[in-house]
């Protein structure tokens, strides 16, 4: 009897120990808790971060009938516009915040908070005239000072934004680079609030696509007064976020798997918004996502390549461009075999890209034969930079006869009969699949050619490429802004993303002209000069493009007006509507 009592005592003690070690102290005990614990924990967490008391978290039904139910592949990383760097965060931030510009359905920049823009004749000064009826959700008007505050945060080394280079390298704003390097104070940034509704921006060199980068959340305004009331917790809950956009954030926690926004009745363009709200759900397993879609719990979802067989005949299935270019990068500088141009050309001729996208990737991705992917950059005349995928047909196409020819030439020059290379690949499902097919294709078309696959975690693969510690790499590059320079700039001598350390003086000079030199202001000449640059890259087979990523999506027939973009904001819902 005594023993049983002791036994029970220890059991209770252990339950308490579990409880105390298991939780951060303030919330409910361990196993055996009920629903209340789950929701109590959620609201407790929200409560501690908010300045005021409203408990918006969990419980009551906030969703209503015309809420759009959207699937997210991954959690939001940050709702701080100057800290966020990933597509998911950008999308959500842009739902409730407007910047100077917004995207139209083709991805071009059209006015948002900036009613009109004046550009000086030398292209170095932009004057934005803000609309006077835009308000923050706490009633404050949106003023030019909000933009100045936000942009200064973006370059402030204490904030250490990963996207600071948008203001320095890409935006070329005066003093941005110096401030980031701690050589100047952030107040010297080339952006001033001339008055409450006029914003003046000074650039170092003309940037032809400058208006286009204004719809990136890095350039969104931040209300300084509000920010100072919740400095450390800004953007971590609905109470610490201000909206001036189409929707208002009303349910959110850091790294939460569900987010809810409701329509903003005070939005200056509120009549345009037809949805009552957006309900985001993070679902990482694509089979579960599709089943939720079939159930009606989701109105839009991403479908993986494996599931395309199930949905390809469904009218609700569509393929939307995601912008990433997948390509092979050979280590030209460090590998004497790959330094031989004929061998590189042989590789690119031996790749059956159509088979890869049709049979392996299957989500509507496009086989690509250009160094700059199609469907993301439109030129001064409105045409897609890479619309013509045949323009490099003589150096990049699927032709096993030409492959053998070049291969034999290479064999002769190098005096070798067989080649063995190692290709580094990300340890994710899609790249591994593509890598296996690439291996098969190359080994079949080029006898004596062996390609061994080295699968690594992504961080490792990136490091190997940057250190030059590889032979061939399978990698991808996503556009940072809607201009071909985001790709072409990579292959300038000594650029950190020029993994193969290729160098060509002609190429460097063309790029220099386009960015900071004589062509920077002449849009049409610049455009054609970039095409010349691309030709150099393709002629020398500096990289072997494979395909441009597209995403397979299911969109309910009840939903219309959703816009997809391969750059900046993945999806825009301002014109979306859902029938009942």
């Amino acid at each position: 009897m005594k023993r049983t009592k002791a036994f029970l005592a220890v059991l209770t003690a252990s339950a308490m120990v579990l409880g105390m070690t298991g939780c951060g102290g303030s919330t409910a005990p361990a196993s055996g808790t009920t629903a209340a614990a789950g929701t109590a924990a959620a609201s407790a967490a929200a409560g501690t971060t908010a300045a005021a008391g409203t408990k918006a978290a969990a419980s009551s039904a906030k969703t209503s009938a015309t809420d759009l139910n959207v699937m997210l592949e991954t959690e939001v990383e940050s709702l701080d516009p100057q800290q966020a760097t990933d597509g998911t965060s950008f999308e959500v931030i842009a739902d409730y915040t407007d910047g100077l510009m917004q995207m139209d359905k083709d991805g071009k920049a059209i006015p948002a908070l900036a009613e009109s823009t004046d550009v000086s004749s030398d292209g170095l000064t932009y004057t934005f005239h803000l609309r006077k009826d835009a308000k923050w959700s706490n009633g404050d008007p949106v003023t030019a000072a909000d933009f100045v505050f936000g942009w200064q945060r973006a370059v402030d080394p204490d904030v250490a934004s990963e996207y600071a280079y948008m203001l320095s390298d890409i935006g070329q704003i005066k003093n941005a680079a110096e401030i980031i390097d701690k050589k100047a104070d952030k107040k010297t940034l080339g952006v001033t609030a001339v008055d409450d509704y006029t914003l003046k921006v000074e650039l170092v060199v003309p940037v032809s696509y400058f208006s286009g980068i204004m719809y990136f959340p890095t350039f969104y305004p931040v209300n300084e007064k509000f920010f100072n009331t919740c400095k450390d917790t800004y953007g971590t809950s609905p109470e610490t976020t201000l909206s001036n956009g189409a929707f208002i954030l009303d349910e959110y926690q850091p790294a939460s798997t569900s987010i809810h926004l409701k329509k903003n009745p005070d939005y200056y363009d509120a009549s345009r918004i037809k949805l009552s709200g957006i309900n985001y759900q993070v679902i990482k397993d694509s089979q579960q996502a599709l089943m939720s879609y079939q159930n009606g719990d989701l109105d839009m979802t991403l479908v993986s390549g494996d599931q395309v067989d199930q949905v390809k005949d469904d009218p609700e299935f569509k393929s939307v461009g995601a912008g990433y270019l997948w390509y092979l990068t050979p280590n030209i500088a460090k590998n004497s075999d790959l330094a031989n141009q004929d061998l590189r050309l042989a590789i690119t001729y031996a790749l059956d890209r159509d088979s890869i996208v049709k049979d392996v990737v299957k989500d509507g991705s496009l086989a690509t034969y250009t160094a700059v992917p199609p469907q993301f950059a439109a030129g001064p005349d409105g045409s897609d930079f890479s619309a013509d995928q045949d323009k490099f047909k003589d150096v990049c196409t699927y032709d096993t006869a030409k492959a053998t020819e070049c291969y034999n030439k290479a064999k002769q020059t190098l005096g070798k009969d067989s080649f063995t290379f190692e290709m580094v690949v990300d340890a994710d499902a899609a790249p591994q699949k593509v890598a296996q097919v690439v291996k098969e294709e190359l080994e079949t078309a080029l006898p004596g050619f062996t390609l061994n696959l080295k699968v690594e975690p992504k961080k490792q693969r990136v490091q190997d490429l940057q250190d030059g510690n590889y032979q061939i790499g399978l990698t991808r590059w996503g556009p940072d802004y809607a201009d071909p320079m985001t790709y072409l700039g990579m292959w300038v001598t000594d650029n950190s993303n020029n993994y193969g350390l290729w160098s060509d003086k002609n190429y460097d000079s063309i790029i220099a002209d386009c960015t900071t030199g004589s062509l920077a202001l002449d849009a049409a000449k610049r455009w054609s000069a970039m095409m010349d640059a691309e030709k150099i890259v393709m002629d020398q087979a500096v990289i072997m493009p494979l395909y441009t990523q597209c995403n397979a999506e299911m969109v309910s027939s009840k939903v219309t007006g959703v816009e997809w973009h391969p750059v900046a904001l993945n999806r825009v819902y301002k014109d979306a509507s859902k029938t009942e």
């Binding site: 993070v282 975690p457 940072d480």
Partner: protein
Amino acid sequence: MKKYALKRILTSFFTLLAILLVLFILMHLMPGSPFNDEKLSADQRSVLYAKYGLDQPVVVQFVRYVGNMLRGDFGVSYNISKNTPISQLIQTRLPISIQIGGFAVLIGALAGLILGLIAAIWHDTFWDTLATIISVIGVSVPSYVFALALSYQFGFKMKLFPMLFSAKMVLKSSVLPSISLSMFTMASIARFTRTEMLEVLGSEYMLLAESKGLSGPALIFRHALRNALIPIITVLAPLIVDLMTGSLVVEKIFAIPGVGSLLVTAIQSNDYNVVISLSFIYSAMYIAIMLVVDILYGIIDPRIRLAKEGNET
């Protein structure tokens, strides 16, 4: 006993410190940085390192981190949820993992015990074989296959339970994940219970108890089970910690905001503080449970004396 427990708790602190140090060193050996290595140049990365103090030598960082930990500051996340305090992340996610894990342990342990008892008491009969088959299925099919199969059948087809976890109906949406997680535990416990019970049932003191006139439940529970419990607890204890700290795959499938997927994502993206804090919590729980288990050994079986040196004659 008390002195032993005290001594153990004291050494636990040193163990945890040692774990922290090893983790620190290992994390900094991992390739890459917590930031977007592809798009940032080395200069830009050094600005970020300076902000978070990552440019200091490892030992300095370690000492500072431990100092902060004692004040409840576990650092911030670098990329999973930028600049969010880890304590906040853990506060929201850990209870959910513990809850679902707790259910899974309960279901698994109870079902396992029952299955094991049935198999042992009626061993070598049909019931034994049946129990064996059920428990073997539990160990041979990965939990994520169960998870998807259960979700497909009971969630999608039969619509009895929600397919995904939802904070709005916590209990109902925890059922399928808990069952999927419990299968392995159930199978392990069942096998172990059977093995131990068989040994115990065949021993002399059971014969003695039976001949004293005891039978049925009293025999099984008061005499047999007590003796079989030790190895069972040994197996159960770490399973509890594993389950509580979440299973990556089940969390991924049911979209559960728990710590399992948090840990794996953090390891893959070099979010140092998340990895270190979660591993620390995991180790603390493990050590606490092992301490409880060791004390239980002494209570259940008085023949075990832990404090004595084993070599006295």
